[in-house]
């Protein structure tokens, strides 16, 4: 069975994120290990990009910190390799398509496989644009994780039926948190998705607190925590690891 999917077995999954190289190469390794230590079921590692159009200010700044400290795509694989030596938690890379395209699809996914990456999420590679990379990913056993957003049922169906691993679910990407409207929108998306697949869903939403994580986990199979985790790096710099571990523990307890 797909390792990413297994992470949802018999529990609500908590997925934690760190930008590779933020604030430095070594610090980000410590922080990623802290996510795992705190109980993250899947770890997402962001490849920093100069222009992350789907991210809010917290992760934009993390990207800039990482890039100005010399993070490159080559070093990502070195970093993942180092992390992989120490933990078995499934690892996903998150990046925009250009760094992958520029590195070369074949070379990128081959290096993913060597380093021990399980999946990849590319925000600016929607369903229609996936074919140009899909065969390379498949050949190296890397799962491309799709995103489902509020849409007509036909579209949700098409994406759900082709999904493997798990599915990112987004409402309108807002910093406002979970309002009643966004909650009912989420419910619609998740219920529609479940009509067509039993691949688990995790909400990509901007979950900032254990309380919010708990509410979201009542509807979805898992929660993704990105900017709230990165915010701890912004606040605590090279001393963020214990805070990250503690935050993940709280999230795990909250979602049960």
């Amino acid at each position: 069975m797909n390792k990413l999917r297994e992470a949802f077995n018999n529990k609500k999954a908590v997925i934690g994120f760190m930008t590779a190289g933020d604030p430095t190469f070594e610090d980000s390794i410590k922080n990623i290990l802290a996510l795992a230590q705190g109980g993250a079921d899947i770890i997402e590692i962001g490849i920093p990009f100069s222009d992350p159009i789907a991210e809010g200010p917290v992760i934009q700044k993390a990207n800039i910190r990482a890039l100005s400290n010399g993070m490159t795509t080559d070093r990502i694989f070195e970093l993942v390799g180092r992390v992989r030596e120490q933990i078995d938690t499934p690892i996903m890379l998150i990046t925009y398509l250009n760094p992958v395209f520029k590195y070369g699809y074949e070379r990128f996914f081959a290096d993913c496989e060597k380093a021990g990456v399980d999946g990849i999420f590319v925000p600016d590679m929607p369903f229609e644009e996936r074919p140009e990379a899909a065969d390379y990913a498949k050949a190296h056993g890397i799962t491309i994780i799709p995103l489902i957003a509020p849409a007509e049922e036909e579209r949700i169906k098409a994406i759900a039926e082709s999904a493997e691993g798990f599915i990112y679910v987004a409402s309108a990407m807002s910093e406002a948190g979970l309002t009643e409207q966004s909650k009912s929108e989420l419910k619609y998306v998740i219920e529609t998705t479940r009509k067509y697949t039993d691949v688990p869903t995790a909400v990509w939403f901007g979950i900032h607190s254990p309380k919010e994580a708990k509410r979201v986990a009542e509807i979805a199979d898992g929660v993704i925590v990105e900017s709230a985790a990165v915010d701890l790096v912004t606040k605590h710099g090279d001393k963020a690891a214990p805070y990250i571990e503690e935050f993940l523990e709280q999230l795990k307890t909250a979602v049960g």
Binding site: S50, P57, N98, K102, M173
Partner: protein, 394 residues
Amino acid sequence: MSKGRYGEFGGQYVPETLMSEIHKLEKAYEFYKNDKDFIEELTTLSREYAGRPSLLYYAEKMTKDLGGAKIYLKREDLNHTGSHKINNVLGQALLAKKMGKKRIIAETGAGQHGVAAATAAALLGLECEIFMGEEDTIRQALNVYRMELLGAKVNAVTSGTKTLKDAVNEAMRDWCSRTDDTLYVLGSVMGPHPFPMIVRDFQSVISREAREQILEKEGRLPTAVMACVGGGSNAMGMFYNFIGDESVRLIGCEAAGRGVETGETAATVATGTLGVFHGMKSLFCQDEYGQIAPVYSISAGLDYPGIGPEHAHLHAIGRAEYVPVTDDEAVDAFEYIARTEGIICAIESAHAVAHLIKLAPTLSKDDIVICCLSGRGDKDVAAIARYRGVNLHE
């Protein structure tokens, strides 16, 4: 492969959160572009409000002074709001209204697209928010105030290089979080499909008129048509109806900044490579890892690290030529056309004029060249004075 391809270029590389909206836009546009009422409304607005058709002006003094090809200028600078940008925003704002949107957003570099969008919003009763790099709000402070006078809210973008590309990033982020009542009115022939097509169609009025006008005046087609290129909207407009006329050279003039060798440049065709950014596969200024490069030009409107996918395609198949023009050359041309023809054109347009000054003398008196003056230069006067070390006290 997805829709909206020009050869290998184009596509729809945007977050899933925008896909449904982009499909809606595509459907609405396919319907309204053939809808009689829509066409009539837009034609009336273009004529009665924007002042179309724009003049095709015979630049006799330049022709004599440069001593080669006969020079015509397509006077988009005479449109309402002072640039070609009005052609596109009237179309898109009208489309937004038909789609039931209450609000439009737009990015702007020099401020010309922002002013045009704010103008269309005021006229059509839409809420309007403009995203503009902080750097550009300083370079083009007058246009910021102009947009505010027109009732728009201007957001100074402080992320990244604080210029046009960052304004596009921020506009996309805004649109991702608010598609229900908002249309992103993109200003150039770039971004995900259907924007490159929609903007090109609305701008193609430039070459539709120019082709008729030159046939009427001269009874034959020009040797070449030319325009400045950032994202490439006025160039695409100037080229489009001449693409099928194989004898007509299509020349795009890119902003080389301090020179293509210096790294302080925005000349995408000269220095860029294939990539995926801002929703499209095209040519971009970027490093070996695909990080988008900071670009530089004296012109805030050409200060963009990419080029529209249809331009990339015209370049790849050899149908259009793209040449770099430096800041120095553009400023010289800005002053030259002011003195010679009594026209203060936009610093963006001056990039095309600069190449025209080089090209015309190499051609014969039987040759005809049409150069698009995409905008007027009032907004640039203070910046040119600074460039020349003149201290203005207002």
